[in-house]
C-alpha cells in the first residue's frame, strides 16, 4: 500500500459513511454480546434488509462503548445531530429504534442513556477514542478514522531515534502495572546489541474483575498492531508476538483477522508501505496461568516452555526470547503509541500529573452503580471515579474501600478518596496502579474475607518455583482462613505481618512480591476488623460465619469433626 492508496481508502470510507442518512452502531464487545447484542444485531440487519434500506441505514458492530452493565447498547448517529445511546436493548426494541428513531427521527422515550451522564463527561479517551464508532473487523473502518497515518509518518519522516525521543517526550509509562518509562525501555532495546530482536505485546490479563486489555484488543485491534509496528521500527525488531489468554477467544479472533487483513494490505509483513521495513506478528495463546502475565514467565511461555519466571537481570531488553533483545509492553501501552505519534509527545505530556502522563483505562467493578470500562486522565481523584463516573454505591450503602491492581494491589479506604490517581500515590498507599482493575467494596464487605479471597487466588496461581511465594502464600492463606472461621489468636496477626514482609522481600517475581499487598494494606487500614474476628470472635459485617462451640460440648464436637475430616 502507498500513501495515496491509504488516503483513497480513508476518503472512500468517509464518503460511504456520509451517504447513510442514519447509522446504527451496535456495541459488539464481550460484555454486550453476553447480554444479547447478537440478537439485536441480527434483528436490525434483518429489518433493514426486509425494508430494503441498505443504502440509507447502516448497521455496524463496534467496539466497547463503556457502560457495560447497561448493555446491549445501540448508538444512533445522524449527521448533524448528537449521538443517542440506548441501553438494555432487546431485539424487539431495536426494531422500534429503527422504525421510529432511524427512519422517523423521533427519539424514543425509554431506555435512553441520559446525555449529561457524568460517566462520559469526566472521561478522556485516547486509546479507546475510536472504540465506540469503528468496526473492529474492518481495516477500512480503522483507516477511515485516521488509522495507519502514524505508521506512515514514522516510516517516511522519522528515524528510529526520533520515534524513541517522541515517546520519551510523551512521558508514557508501562500500562501493565510496573510503570516503567516506555521511551527508556525502547531506548534500551534499540541500543542492545543483537542481529535479531523481538517484540512482544502482553495481553495476558488475569486480575479478577479486569478487562482493559481484552477490550483494547477486541475494540481496536489495528491500533495495537499499528503501535507494535511503530515500536518494532523504533527498536529494530522484525518479529512480534501477541500473547493472548486462551480465555479471550473473541480478542484472539479479531486480532487474527486484523493481522490477515493488514498483511493483505501490505501494512504488515515485508516491505511495509513500500519501505525496507519488515515486521511480522504471530499470536501466542496463554493456557490460563496468572503468572504468565509476568514478563519473564510470559517469555518462557512464548518459547514453548513451562511458564515460570526467571531472575532478572538479564532483563528482556538485553536477553529475552531465545537470548535476543526483546521489547515487551502491555497491549494498552501499544494502544497509546499511534495517538502520541499523530498528535505529538508534548500533547500527551500535557495530560495527567507531573510523573504520570496521559490516560489510563480502568475496569470499574464491584459494588458500584455504573460498572464498565472507563478511560480517565491520570491525576483524577478516586472520588471522581467512584461517585461521578461510577455513579456512587448502589442500594444506599456506603463506600468502604477501593481495590486497585487486582490480587497484587491493595485496598484504599474512604479517607484517601481525594488522592489523585497516579503510580506514585497508589504505591504510597500500599497499593499499585496495576493493569487497571478497580473493584469497589461497600460497607457490607468484610475486609478479612476480601484479603482471604485474594490470597487464595495468589496461592492458586503461584507457579511453585520459589519457596517464599509457594509456601508463604499457602501459609498466609491458612492464617486468614483461621481468622475467618474464628480460630485464630492474636499472635497469628504478627505472623501474618512478618510473613507478608518476608514474601514481599524474597520472592522471585512480581507475583510473589506483590501477593501480600491485599493483606498488608487491609491490615494497615482495617486492623480493627481483624481484631474483632480474633478477640471477639465475630465478623463486624456478618460475612464470615463464625460458629463458637461452647467449651462443654467441645469433647463431643472434636471427635465428630475428626470423623468428618477423615471421611472427606
Amino acid at each position: 500500500m502507498t500513501r495515496e492508496e491509504l488516503q483513497a481508502m480513508a476518503q472512500k470510507e468517509q464518503e460511504k459513511r456520509k451517504a447513510f442518512s442514519c447509522r446504527l452502531l451496535v456495541c459488539y464487545s464481550t460484555p454486550c454480546i453476553s447480554s444479547g447484542a447478537e440478537g439485536v444485531r441480527k434483528a436490525l440487519v434483518d429489518a433493514v434488509k426486509a425494508r430494503n434500506l441498505d443504502a440509507e441505514i447502516d448497521v455496524t458492530c463496534t467496539g466497547c462503548v463503556g457502560p457495560c452493565s447497561r448493555g446491549p447498547l445501540v448508538t444512533v448517529r445522524r449527521a448533524g445531530q448528537e449521538d443517542v445511546i440506548y441501553e438494555n436493548v432487546t431485539p424487539e426494541f431495536a426494531v422500534q429504534i429503527l422504525a421510529k428513531h432511524a427512519l422517523g427521527n423521533e427519539v424514543l422515550t425509554s431506555n435512553v442513556l441520559p446525555k449529561d451522564l457524568p460517566f462520559f463527561a469526566k472521561q478522556l479517551k485516547v486509546v479507546l477514542a475510536n472504540s465506540a464508532s469503528i468496526d473492529p473487523e474492518s481495516l477500512e473502518s480503522y483507516v477511515g478514522a485516521g488509522g495507519y497515518t502514524a505508521l506512515l509518518k514514522v516510516l517516511e519522516d522519522m528515524t528510529p531515534e526520533q520515534v524513541v525521543d517522541e515517546i520519551k517526550k510523551s512521558g508514557l509509562r508501562g500500562r501493565g502495572g510496573g510503570g516503567f518509562p516506555t521511551g527508556l525501555k525502547w531506548d534500551l532495546v534499540r541500543k542492545a546489541k543483537g542481529d535479531k530482536k523481538y517484540l512482544v505485546a502482553n495481553g495476558d490479563e488475569g486480575d479478577p474483575g479486569a478487562y482493559m486489555d481484552r477490550t483494547t484488543m477486541e475494540s481496536d485491534p489495528f491500533l495495537v498492531l499499528e503501535g507494535m509496528a511503530i515500536a518494532a521500527y523504533a527498536v529494530g525488531a522484525d518479529q512480534g508476538f501477541i500473547y493472548v489468554r486462551a480465555e479471550y477467544p473473541l480478542a484472539a479472533e479479531r486480532l487474527r483477522k486484523a493481522i490477515k487483513m493488514a498483511e493483505k494490505a501490505e501494512i504488515l509483513g515485508n516491505h511495509i508501505f513500500g519501505s525496507n521495513f519488515n515486521f511480522h506478528i504471530d499470536i501466542r495463546f496463554g493456557a490460563g496461568a496468572f503468572v504468565c502475565g509476568e514478563e519473564t514467565a510470559l517469555l518462557t511461555s512464548v518459547m514453548g516452555r513451562r511458564g515460570q519466571p526467571y531472575p532478572r537481570p538479564p532483563f528482556p531488553a538485553n536477553s529475552g526470547l531465545w537470548g535476543c533483545p526483546t521489547l515487551i509492553n502491555n497491549v494498552e501501552t501499544f494502544g497509546n503509541i499511534a495517538p502520541i505519534i499523530n498528535r505529538g509527545g508534548d500533547w500527551y505530556a500535557g495530560i495527567g500529573t507531573e510523573k504520570s502522563k496521559g490516560t489510563k483505562i480502568f475496569a470499574l467493578a464491584g459494588e458500584i452503580n455504573n460498572t464498565g470500562l472507563i478511560e480517565v486522565p491520570m491525576g483524577i481523584t478516586l472520588r471522581e471515579v467512584v461517585f461521578d463516573i461510577g455513579g456512587g454505591i448502589p442500594k444506599g450503602a456506603g463506600f468502604k474501600a477501593a481495590q486497585t491492581g487486582g490480587p497484587s494491589g491493595g485496598c484504599i479506604p474512604a479517607a484517601y478518596l481525594d488522592t489523585p490517581i497516579d503510580y506514585e500515590n497508589l504505591a504510597a498507599l500500599g497499593s499499585i496502579m496495576g493493569s487497571g482493575g478497580l473493584v469497589i467494596m461497600n460497607d457490607r464487605s468484610c475486609m478479612v474475607d476480601v484479603a482471604r479471597f485474594f490470597m487464595d487466588f495468589c496461592r492458586d496461581e503461584s507457579c511453585g518455583k520459589c519457596v517464599p511465594c509457594r509456601v508463604g502464600t499457602s501459609q498466609m492463606l491458612r492464617i486468614l482462613e483461621k481468622i475467618c472461621n474464628g480460630s485464630a489468636v492474636m499472635d497469628d496477626l504478627e505472623k501474618l505481618q512478618e510473613m507478608g514482609k518476608m514474601v514481599q522481600d524474597t520472592s522471585l517475581c512480581g507475583l510473589g512480591f506483590t501477593s501480600p499487598n491485599p493483606v498488608l494494606s487491609t491490615l494497615r487500614y482495617f486492623r480493627e476488623e481483624y481484631e474483632a474476628h480474633i478477640r471477639e470472635r465475630r465478623c463486624p459485617v456478618g460475612v464470615c460465619q463464625i460458629k463458637e462451640v461452647p467449651l462443654a460440648e467441645l469433647m463431643k464436637e472434636l471427635p465428630r469433626r475428626i470423623r468428618e475430616a477423615a471421611k472427606s
Partner: protein, 239 residues
C-alpha cells in the same frame, strides 16, 4: 580472563569476571547457604537461601544467578537476611511431610544440614500435612517419595542437562507441584530413563533414594556433576 574487585561484607575481594556472586563469595571464604543450587547445573535462583543485599539494587538478589560486577558492594549476612533464611527453611519444613526419624536420608540430608547450620530446630508455621501420591517403587533401582520433596528441581536439571534424558519433570503449580516421570507414568515403565542414578545422587533430601536402603542408609555423591561438566568443556577425563 580479567579480574574484578568487589566488596563483600566490608572486605575488598577479587573474582574472575563472569563469575556469579555465589562463586565470588565462596572463593573468598564467605559461606552462603544454598539448596537448589548445585555446582555444574544451571542456577535457577529458586530456593532464595543465597539472597544477598547489593548496594543500589531495589531488591534482594540471589547470589547464584547474579553476575559479580566490578565495584559491587554486597552484604551477605545482615540480620534481616539471616531471619529470612531461617523462615525459608521453616517454610520448607512445614510444606510437606518431613519426618527425619524414618527418612533414608537422615544424616545425609542437605535440608537438615542447612537447618542445623542456621539454627532452625523447629518451625513456627503450621504443618500443612498434605496428602501425597503414593511412593513410586516400580523402578528397578530407585524410589521416589513425594513427601520429602522441596521442589528444588535438581533431579530434573541433572536428568535433562547432564544425562540428556529428560525423564523427570514438574507437574502442577504452586504447592501442588509434583515431580513426574515422563508423561506422569510409573517410573518402572519409563522408556526414557537410563537408570543412571544421577537424579538420586543430586537429590538434597530423601525424595529420591536407592531401593533397599533403610533409615539413615542413603549416601549421596554430587561431585560427579562438576566432573562431567568440566570434562565435557575441556575434553579431559582424567581423575
Amino acid at each position: 580472563m580479567s579480574v574484578i574487585t568487589l566488596t563483600i561484607n566490608g572486605q575488598e575481594v577479587s573474582a574472575l569476571s563472569g563469575a556469579t556472586l555465589l562463586e565470588a563469595c565462596r572463593q573468598n571464604g564467605v559461606d552462603l547457604p544454598t539448596l537448589c543450587h548445585l555446582d555444574g547445573l544451571t542456577p535457577i535462583g529458586a530456593c532464595r537461601l543465597c539472597l544477598v543485599q547489593v548496594e543500589g539494587a531495589r531488591r534482594l538478589m540471589p547470589a547464584c544467578t547474579t553476575e559479580a560486577q566490578d565495584g559491587m558492594v554486597v552484604q551477605t549476612h545482615t540480620e534481616s537476611l539471616k531471619e529470612y533464611r531461617k523462615m525459608i527453611l521453616e517454610m520448607l519444613l512445614s510444606e510437606r511431610n518431613h519426618i527425619c526419624s524414618v527418612c533414608v536420608a537422615n544424616g545425609s540430608c542437605e535440608l537438615r544440614a542447612r537447618c542445623a547450620e542456621l539454627g532452625v530446630d523447629h518451625t513456627r508455621f503450621e504443618y500443612r500435612c498434605p496428602d501425597m501420591p503414593a511412593i513410586d517403587l516400580t523402578h528397578e533401582r530407585n524410589g521416589l517419595d513425594h513427601n520429602r520433596c522441596i521442589s528444588c528441581t535438581r533431579c530434573i536439571r541433572a536428568c535433562d542437562q547432564i544425562e540428556g534424558a529428560h525423564t523427570l519433570d514438574m507437574q502442577g503449580r504452586g504447592v501442588d507441584s509434583r515431580i513426574i516421570i515422563d508423561m506422569h507414568q510409573k517410573w518402572g515403565g519409563s522408556t526414557t530413563c537410563t537408570k543412571c542414578g544421577k537424579c538420586v545422587n543430586v537429590c538434597p533430601t530423601g525424595t529420591l533414594f536407592w531401593k533397599g536402603s533403610t533409615v539413615a542408609e542413603m549416601e549421596k555423591d554430587v561431585g560427579f556433576v562438576r566432573w562431567i561438566k568440566e570434562g565435557r568443556e575441556k575434553k579431559q577425563w582424567s581423575l
